[in-house]
Subunit: 675 residues, 2 copies
């Protein structure tokens, strides 16, 4: 992860007919207004004009502009009311930077006015802007000491590209709003991250946009970067492996997009977007064939924070402990998806908007894609061979719906998928790909290494640095209503006491209810337990509590020392699972402000209050974790490595919700002539 | 899991053009003979005739007939020799049951003779046969006490179906070769497993094929089984959800089947089949574009055992601790796959054969399918936004190859997938679906429960009994050759000692080599570690050891007491990972003979020798585990729940093997007219 500086609009090679739906745009969505709709292009313009007119002559920057969510009770009561826009408040949260101060402004869009404005007093700084980073990255090229350092290395300045890295916090008292600039030597390649120019550190104060510190620790060879070109057009033979692309020919049109609400199979949910997090799924409900109604599952879910600490503690590298969501903005880092490659041919695309540093809306074309996945899996099946002279086979193939965005934070590409399954599961997955961060070293073989290195020597002069990825999800589950309880169904071994039974043991479920937050901090893998969010106010016909269970996937816990600064700032990763009572202001696990944060506003701190969580509106926080020991296969482009988890109904339905599924048979393969 | 009694040939509804390839048949494969090819139909007939002529007047049964694998050295040396069949030994292993004794016979197919024959002396019994189970299941219907018990319950005997369950071993001294018979009341439905007739236990001696014990413990209501019909044709409205099926329209023909050898993308491997395990993958190698040759990864891999203990310790249920592979035969339980539903439209199918109880080959049509998966995933990607005024996006969609079989052991359906990825990964996955085993009880609501129950009350009078699934895979990895070493790359926290660095800690990799078997017994999840099988005799250009790493997925450890009989028999599940030196006779984790085994011949016992495993030909054993706390959604048909793990190259290649992948673009979607 480094900074993102260029325009987000990508050059699209639209080969075939592509469905582009732009329902974050106001004109199409006016009649399907939803109170959680993201800010529209015209609303961004309106906000800019309201604020500009209130602060006419000031040189301030927009650091964050997003929807100020209506109260949950307001949103929930909407179903029984008119859906007209005028009946609901429409507000925006704006964070600006002005005179080295952070201003928090609430704008009322209905009344075209500023509702409130205050200066934020705290040590941490708001989201970086794309424009600010771009300006900072240009500064070295007018800075003589830097130009001399490049010359001293025998490098051509025109082939140097610089990128900004957040500085973290390491116990300093007073701080300035700075970033560190690292530079790379492209020399004809576009794979800059494999060619770091080591030894040079520039520090830029973003508030005054000036270089405030410069050091050149000495020359290290720039890796030659042979065989690191990744553009298809520039590859030389031999090529391979050869793969067959494919088109999906579906029997139907897939999902329905009604405003920003998606209806598909037995699911309905609202799709939002925010500059800080990207995709937001709201009000996901599933249709119950027995009860003849949609039943609530998830009020709101999104990636709350992404913590990526690198494991190189040297002077040039130690600070690289990034929070990609709160520092760089996962939504702001969302890239335009390539039809047919990032998403299959049956995908539909949605554009997204965010405010640039001067408040102007920036469009990300094809920011999100939605597609039916036909992976060749089986929803359920059975072959019955026990009945004499009869064989019964019933099979239902699986179809799921995927909502995808991809955030590229400098070198790394994060594929963020929400997958909705007809059986009631929601599967959350992240795919890691892109380019590794590398350190230039003098070595070309492991046996030359004469002092500790902090990763794998992947090619000449190149260490791919070891690191972690922790993605923390915010999941405000409302399992059939708000009043929910977190239950640990512990599997406990029992000894058989009946002497007539020759077997000695079995396991049984001993349920443990989490009364307060401290009961719900979980290190996964330590004891066998099913973790379930139940609605204690409702039961199924046989009397089971209605619930959704968590099926963990790839987990990892941080390995930094407890008193180390990055650990304090990233303390929300200390447990794999946390539960908190719903609190509108507790959305960002790493804190409202994360750049140079000191860990005072994290999930770990909120949770110290040990609030009651039994039969409350509760939020589940889950962290997907990876320890990434780098390897040569990850270089120069990392094949996607995925991790995820699943939320799956458990006694939510009276019986399988897919027993009576109906599958429309697709047209036969040979009805399609190869073009 | 109960027994399998009917014919394996399923009624296929072949809607569209289906590719059926029968390269386990001798005629097609003669010229592509491979020494690990499974026995062909004519070879089964030949074996039958050789044995029948040697034991002309005897009333014996064939319990197992399979390939007697040639020595590994013979197979490996084959590449440099003639591939003609006559140059290689061709032998079969046969296990028969005769006069209450188990006979082990080796047949030489080249000389049409019996090479060796001996009586096996041991407490455990061979694989059950389909025919034997069928005969046993018919016995109750001629047994008056049983007919009376059914009458006493007011049930109609013609609506009763019986099924055999292995009895396990619980400390008994002398045993007979018995199974227990449980019966179900269909009463018009085909979902018999949801309608158990409780209280009645019949014990059949399979050697004399007679009922040797009968008890009726009293009447328990048979669950009514309302809403448990699962056949599509018999469903009543309302239906739903509605899903769109789809066809895959590929740009190419997919893989090449050359005899039983499959070539696809950069992979080549041999596909085998055995009555005990089903699919066997052998000699999987991946093409290295740099070295211009195929390099070895896996010599042989298959499901070695599947242990399914139920958690009901009462008199009627305690013994239900099944070993589906060694008792029922996972290959024998393989069902015919349904085109378009079990496998997508682009799948090709292969038939398989096994020997029936009288030695005659039985054909399983469409036993295995092979298809390219186009799941909409991304092989690798990057969008480069750091270079001023330039955006570069390169994306390669993922295509993988799946080899699938489905074993149905009574009530449960196991979907066994091998997935080969172009990046070098092999992903092993199992999907659990089918019908849960249920116990009839008097309760209709949880609040009536007055004594312990052993699962979830899923509907009136029906407890779905809690249980585990442990699938243990045999993986004879040969990472770039036979001499391999198992390395634990432990992630260890280090304190920063340089006072000029404000950061306090980082993690680093401390490698630990497993010298002997005891060093390689792993409980996953206890400490952060990457587990790698390396070839210590080879290094990459930068000097890293060539390796493949294990990426664990769903794991679980057994919770039974150490001294409990099922735990002793299933002791191979005690660790998630084991490594052993290659030994031709150590294939079956639960023992060569498993029915009523006493745990004397398991992986856990072999491993007590604590043999050297450093730089040896080693075998990795991995167990996918599930603790299944049942829920109402699993009833009456369980939506597939999946688990798995991955073997992924780590410093096996010099760099990413998919950087220069070439993807053939498929024809455009709209070139296909909807039929």
């Amino acid at each position: 992860m480094a900074s993102r500086v260029a325009s987000t609009s990508s050059v699209l090679l639209v080969l075939f007919s592509i469905f582009i739906v732009t329902c974050f745009s106001p004109t199409l969505c006016l009649n399907q207004y939803h109170p959680l709709d993201p800010l529209t292009q015209s609303e961004f313009n309106q906000i800019k004009s309201i604020i500009r007119s209130s602060y006419p002559s000031q040189n301030f920057t927009f650091q964050y502009v997003g929807l100020d969510e209506p109260e949950k009770s307001t949103v929930l009561s909407r179903n029984s009311k008119s859906t007209a826009k005028s009946h609901l408040p429409r507000r925006a949260s704006v964070v600006t930077r002005l005179n080295k101060q952070t201003h928090e402004i609430t704008v009322d869009l209905s009344t075209h006015s500023i509702l409130s404005s205050k200066v934020h007093n705290g040590n941490a700084y708001p989201l970086l802007t794309v424009d600010g980073q771009k300006l900072a990255n240009e500064l070295p090229f007018k800075y003589q000491p830097f130009i001399q350092s490049i010359k001293k290395r025998g490098l051509t300045i025109s082939q140097v590209v610089c990128s900004g890295f957040t500085v973290g916090w390491f116990g300093e008292g007073n701080t300035r709003r700075t970033i560190k600039i690292n530079c790379f030597y492209t020399n004809g390649t576009v794979n800059l991250f494999v060619r770091p120019v080591e030894g040079i550190t520039l520090v830029v104060d973003l508030d005054i946009m000036k270089i405030v510190h410069y050091s050149d620790m000495g020359v290290v060879p720039v890796p030659r970067g042979e065989r690191t070109e990744y553009q298809a057009s520039k590859q030389m033979p031999p090529f391979g492996p050869r793969l067959n692309g494919a088109s999906v020919l579906s029997a139907g049109d897939g999902f329905v997009l009604d405003g920003n609400t998606i209806r598909w199979a037995n699911w309905v949910f609202h799709l939002g977007f925010d500059v800080r997090t990207g995709t937001i799924i709201s009000q996901a409900s599933i249709y119950d064939l027995d009860k003849k109604k949609y039943r609530r599952v998830l009020y709101r879910g999104f990636v709350s924070e992404l913590f990526v600490p690198y494991m190189n503690p040297t002077a040039d590298w130690y600070y690289k402990t990034f929070f990609d969501n709160g520092e760089f903005g996962f939504g702001q880092s969302t890239v335009s998806l390539e039809p047919l490659t990032d998403c299959p041919n049956n995908a539909k695309f949605i554009d997204a908007y965010y405010a640039s540093q001067d408040g102007t809306p920036v469009k990300i074309s094809n920011a999100i894609c939605i597609f039916e996945r036909h992976a060749g899996n089986i929803l359920w099946r059975h072959t019955e061979v026990t009945i004499p002279d009869e064989v019964i086979t019933e099979v239902r193939p699986e179809v799921t719906l995927v909502v995808r965005m991809i955030a590229v934070v400098g070198n790394y590409d994060y594929i963020i998928d929400w997958e909705f399954k007809p059986c009631g599961s929601i599967k959350l997955e992240v795919g890691l790909t892109g380019v590794l961060e590398t350190e230039g070293v003098k070595y070309t073989h492991k046996n030359q290494i004469d002092k500790e290195v902090y990763g794998t020597l992947v090619t000449d002069n190149t260490i791919a640095v070891n690191h972690d990825h922790f993605l923390t999800y915010y999941l405000d589950l409302d399992v059939d209503g708000e009043g929910n309880t977190f239950v640990k169904n512990n599997l406990v071994t029992k000894r058989v006491t009946d002497p007539s039974i020759p077997r000695k043991s079995y396991w049984t479920v001993v349920s443990e209810t989490a009364k307060t937050e401290s009961d719900a901090k979980i290190h996964l893998g330590l004891k066998p337990s099913e973790l379930v969010v139940v609605n204690p106010n409702k039961r199924t016909k046989p009397g089971n509590h209605i619930g959704y269970r968590l099926i963990p996937g790839s987990v990892a816990a941080p390995l930094l020392l407890e008193d180390d600064y990055p650990h304090i700032r990233g303390a929300f990763t200390k447990y794999n699972v946390w539960l908190t009572p719903y609190n509108k202001s507790e959305k960002w696990a790493g804190g409202q402000y994360v750049d140079q944060s000191r860990g005072g506003d994290t999930l770990a701190v909120w949770s110290l209050r040990d609030r009651e969580i039994e039969n409350k509106d509760i939020v589940l926080w889950y962290t997907i974790g990876f320890h990434h020991v780098t390897c040569q296969e990850d270089f120069p482009m990392m094949p996607t490595l995925s991790g995820g988890f699943e939320l799956r109904p458990t006694n939510f339905f009276e019986s399988s919700p897919v027993l009576k599924v109906r599958i429309t048979v697709p047209p036969p393969k040979h009805a399609c002539a190869l073009a």
